[in-house]
């Protein structure tokens, strides 16, 4: 296996893929958003219970490749307890990591996705869950897509 591929499918990603955290519908959710990648058929729904501006609980559901499933799973562990502003800031960091491969100073589980940057076609897999989560936060019921030309 090549170094690039090992870097893409890091242990933490495989682990989240095999044993996804916070998977399934959240019965108490007061926000939900759905995302898809039209070209590949990946789908992801994110359920949030917002308590004021804070994410009290969240879960995800859907189907897709290891990268998209692991990313959504890991995301749910990172966003719990965060405000909208903090969530957006985390997404910015994550987006930087998957597009540049540079990881920020602080040690973060998100850094596991640094290997994505050598596989540009997979960036949209890694960001699918995040797009859905941000849309859910905005109370936007329109499906998220990671294939907008601006992406």
């Amino acid at each position: 296996m090549s170094a690039d591929l090992t870097e893409l499918y890091q242990q933490v990603i495989l682990d989240h893929n095999r044993r996804p955290r916070n998977r399934g519908r959240l019965p108490t959710a007061n926000r939900v958003a759905h995302g898809d990648n039209p070209s590949c058929g990946d789908q992801c729904s994110v359920y949030l219970r917002l308590d004021g501006d804070r994410i009290a609980e969240l879960s995800f559901d859907g189907s897709g490749c290891a990268i998209s499933q692991a990313s959504a799973s890991l995301m749910t562990t990172q966003l719990k307890g965060k405000t909208t502003a903090q969530a957006e800031e985390l997404y910015r960091q994550f987006h930087d990591i998957v597009t540049t491969g540079q990881t920020p100073g602080e040690i973060s589980d998100l850094a596991a996705f640094a290997g994505v940057h050598t596989f540009p076609a997979r960036i949209k897999c890694a960001t699918l869950g995040w797009h859905a989560a941000l849309n859910a936060l905005k109370g936007d019921a329109a499906p998220a897509t990671t294939e907008l030309p601006s992406d």
Binding site: L5, Y9, C40, S63, G64, C65, C125
Partner: protein, 408 residues
């Protein structure tokens, strides 16, 4: 398995390494590679004869017109059409199907039925949804049988569905997901019996075996050049003369008008009526070169080669633990689609790429069928004249490594 000793030498693109491995191109269902002869035909055209067609009297223009019309005649011969005028050059299968769907929609009324099948590519499905919406006609689907669609079309259901209300029956000749060849001549015969116009999506079949539109008995037939060793951006709508003559024009503009004044326009007869604007001239010439190439290999031999490789692949893949194979176990053509419950198609394709393999993962523009089968995406290996049995070994070995990695 028929083998042509020099076929691979004809395709410059195959002789490269991907991630250090020899390229194994198993994605011809998406687009076929181009033999040197086709590329050379394009170069020759641009270096010697390039000019606009139809409206010119100078030497280059006459040469370009002659070459363009000779390409039409060559394609007509490839399809065994009754005459060159039955061949309309389009941009591709999708373009051809939109042209005919929009044209036929003009004659449809509420109460009429458009019949298609559950196994259609989006390009032979969404245009009919639009035609139904525009005309008020009802769209119905011939069901597909079996948990893995291995039973093909439900021909008993077809008998029920083919009522006199059916005005159009559009179906694929060869499914790009199931590798299954529909009994097109029989389907056309049954449709004709109720007076329905037949539209055959031949995108996957036309370059992969013998095809005779008169023997099929279809009214329209659509395909793309790029899936049969031809250039991108060229396709064909075949229309039986009597039907084509009745179809209204689609795009309008230069080249398709008999006369224009500020108040309105009159149309030229078919096929020009359907070719508004400067046509894809080089594309048509390249497509004719592809016809020459495939006929030289032999269409029967190509079909046999395709079938043998697909069968071999099916048999070699079937023992992989947890694999789910779509379509029939025997008699398949040119491709194999499969899925694992625990390893997603995109991961399979990414791992295969590391081994130099080009596979396709996704819904293959068959989303409704995938959903019906409870799948979001599958991996497809598709074969053509340049593929070999040894490449199937590479495929199987790669899949085994991938499964091991994900399953530990």
């Amino acid at each position: 398995m028929p083998t042509w000793p020099d076929v691979r030498a004809d395709f410059p693109i195959l002789h490269q390494r991907v991630h250090g491995h020899p390229l194994v191109y198993l994605d011809s269902g998406a687009t076929a590679q181009k033999p040197r002869a086709v590329i050379a035909a394009l170069v020759r055209y641009y270096e010697q004869d390039n000019s606009n067609v139809h409206r010119g009297l100078h030497a280059l223009s006459m040469r370009a017109t002659d070459a363009y019309e000779a390409a039409r005649a060559r394609v007509a011969q490839f399809l065994h059409a009754a005459e060159p005028a039955e061949v309309v050059f389009t941009r591709g299968t999708t373009d051809s199907l939109n042209l005919v769907a929009r044209g036929l929609a003009a004659d449809l009324r509420p109460g009429d039925v458009i019949l298609t099948t559950e196994m259609e590519h989006h390009s032979n499905l969404v245009p009919w949804q639009q035609a139904a919406q525009a005309s008020g006609a009802t769209l119905r689907y011939v069901p597909v049988l079996g948990a893995n669609a291995e039973g093909g079309l439900d021909l008993a259901a077809l008998d029920q569905l083919l009522t006199p209300q059916v005005k159009v029956f559009a179906f694929t000749h060869l499914s790009n997901t199931l590798g299954l060849l529909n009994p097109a001549a029989d389907l056309c015969r049954r449709a004709r019996a109720v007076g329905a116009v037949t539209v055959v999506d031949a995108a996957q079949s036309v370059g992969h075996g013998p095809l005779d539109v008169q023997a099929l008995g279809c009214d329209f037939l659509a395909f793309s050049g790029h899936k049969m060793c031809g250039p991108t951006g060229i396709g064909v709508l075949y229309g039986r003369r009597a039907r084509l003559d009745r179809l209204p024009p689609d795009a309008t503009g230069g080249g398709m008008v008999a006369s224009v004044d500020y108040e309105g326009a009159r149309w030229k007869p078919a096929p020009e009526r359907f070719e508004a604007g400067t046509p894809p001239i080089a594309g048509a010439i390249g497509l004719a070169a592809a016809c020459d190439y495939l006929d030289a290999l032999g269409r029967e031999a190509i079909a046999r080669h395709d079938q043998d490789l697909a069968q071999l692949a099916y048999e070699r893949l079937a023992p992989l633990p947890g694999i789910r194979l779509l379509g029939p176990a025997t008699g398949r053509r040119g491709l194999v689609c499969f899925a694992f419950a625990d390893v997603h198609a995109h991961d399979v394709v990414t791992f295969a790429d590391e081994d130099g393999l080009a596979l396709r993962g996704g819904h293959h523009c068959n989303q409704p069928l995938m959903r019906k089968l409870g799948l979001a995406s599958t991996t497809r290996a598709s074969f053509y004249v340049y593929n070999t049995a040894a490449e199937i070994d590479v495929l199987v070995a790669s899949l085994q490594r991938t499964l091991k990695f994900f399953r530990g």
